[in-house]
Point group: C2
Chain length 339, copies 2
């Protein structure tokens, strides 16, 4: 194994000069940097990452913080794809990742603190955004680098946010449904606490209002258990029922169309369906579902790149990065064919 | 921040003694160890992981190697769940993970070699098992620690394998279908190269043979494009068609039932369906699908624990760990109700 000392000898400089070249120090001339780098390359010198981490006092690891209270959240394809994007961005820059495992706010906060004090991570990505979050509050107060995938709901923190424009996404998909001739549209949600849910509901209501269809639009909330979904759908379709259903996300959508199948309600012949967040759950559904693709992998990649930049340059300014969305039309809203 | 020097001063010993206590060296008396540890605890000393890694020459990072040629593979819920299990096991032991990004065998091998030479990982988990795999061959020859999630197809390597018994899983699900009165059963597969596919096909054929139904059982292979699936299903259902379909895995199953919906073939009234690998794709399908649950998160956890043990004890013997499977019956095979 070629060492720093070997490289120094070959280049005719001191080992500390080589070390400074590796760190891209300002005090070294461009000519020396070029010479040393050439020798490093030719000699096959591979820096010992643990040694470099000690010098730079970095772990080259990013901590992913998962919403407390939800282990299952990871099974949502949205998070798998975000994870994929984060890993890719990190891998390219020589960073690895670890994921928190605590399931309540208090132990999650303890876990985050321990990861910082043992210097196991250089920064965090929060995979959620919610009001009064103790983790974000702590990181913010401690001045520790973090990026949030989600909405900037506070406006006063020096954090970086990576998000979609969920209001606009909801407006677009609602306008698509209206444009296809549906007017009696019901939006089904299973939570209205997280920022993303609130924004999608708001966008739906805005578009219905804009089209003069406020009286035809309804937002219905269901619980998490199958019985609550089944009861809600039965009462919804008792007399007439809506012409189209817009669901809060792809997982809820799958649950809804699974129940509709059981109720022998055909899509799109009897009711059209559309949702947010594309995945295998919507692409290979029966029938394939019209969705707003929110590009979770892009959200992950952007968050990964941002946190690494932030770690390298702590003076980086707060910013909000908005990842675009696009509508994918599939059979679930093809009115003509169904009827 | 309390340093090793501070602890040494407080304990009245040299810094190197403290360092040896941290590494649990044999040359230090039990009394000294006890005293130093007490002071470390009281003073709130947190070891610098980068420093410890340098001393132990470890990165405390596990590399996950993804099948070459498949970026999309990561979208299969099976891999997301395996990942979840690996992350959990690693996190508990203070390890982080990184995932390879190369998409062909040659650059994947180069990536693996570079991760080793730059000491970025202490060991690998291969998320697949295939014949003549250059990565496994290289790691094996280099004596670098690795664990395979998949079948021990070689028998001559000193590796650890974590897998399900896929032959037995296929026998069980086929027997379930036969027990429910289905005899004309078709198994649909989209690959027959990987060990897992071969074993599931073999189990299906064994169970059909055992029941004296070999003449009624068929294995049909389809391509990856929607047209190939659609053509295959059309010809399959042209005259009569099978009473039950067994698909190779949950993703293929979703694609098949999406096409059946379009063809207005009802499940289970017109045909029963069953598959392998439980996920949201099967649980929230229209209708919910009968599956063999193969516990991907358990596979991941076991692999994570095994690789860490292997890193810590290189003399660990080769072994095969078999994670059990279980059948979950859902509406897709409820014959009575459907007809």
């Amino acid at each position: 194994m070629v060492t720093i000392k070997d490289v120094a000898k070959m280049a005719g400089v001191s080992p500390s000069t080589v070390s400074r070249v590796i760190k891209d120090h300002d005090g070294i001339s461009a000519a020396t940097k070029k010479k040393v780098r050439k020798i490093m390359e030719e000699s096959g010198y591979a820096p010992n990452i643990a040694a470099r981490n000690l010098v730079t006092n970095q772990s080259n690891t990013i901590g992913l913080v998962i919403k407390s209270g939800m282990h299952e959240v990871n099974l949502n394809p949205f998070y798998s794809e975000v994870n994929l994007g984060v890993s890719e961005a990190c891998r390219k820059e020589g960073f690895s990742t670890l994921t928190t495992s605590a399931t309540d706010d208090a132990s999650l906060l303890a876990e985050v603190k321990e990861l910082i004090s043992s210097r196991q991570v250089d920064g965090f990505i929060l995979l959620y955004s919610k009001e009064d979050d103790p983790i974000a509050a702590f990181l913010s107060a401690a001045g520790f680098p973090y990026v949030v995938i989600g909405k900037d709901i506070h406006n006063d923190r020096e954090a970086i946010y990576v998000d979609n424009d969920n209001i606009q996404a909801a407006v677009s998909i609602t306008e698509l449904l209206i444009g296809k001739g549906y007017s009696k549209i019901t939006m089904i949600v299973d939570n209205d606490v997280f920022a993303v849910a609130r924004d999608r509901i708001r966008g739906f209501e805005m578009a219905m209002h804009e089209a003069g269809l406020s009286a035809m639009g309804r937002v219905v909330k269901c619980g998490d258990d199958p019985r609550s979904i089944s009861d809600m759908l039965k009462s919804l379709f008792e007399d007439g029922g809506p012409e189209a259903l817009l669901t809060l996300d792809g997982v809820l959508n799958a649950r809804i169309i699974s129940h509709l199948y059981q109720m022998k309600i055909r899509i799109p012949a009897d009711v059209a369906t559309a949702t947010f967040s594309d995945s295998l759950l919507t692409k290979f559904a029966a029938p394939p579902q019209t969705v707003v693709d929110i590009f979770p992998e892009e959200l992950g990649k952007e968050a990964g790149n941002e946190i690494i930049t932030l770690i390298r340059d702590e003076d980086k300014l707060k910013r909000i990065i908005t990842v675009p969305t696009r509508i994918i039309e599939r059979r679930s809203t093809q009115k003509e064919e169904g009827r």
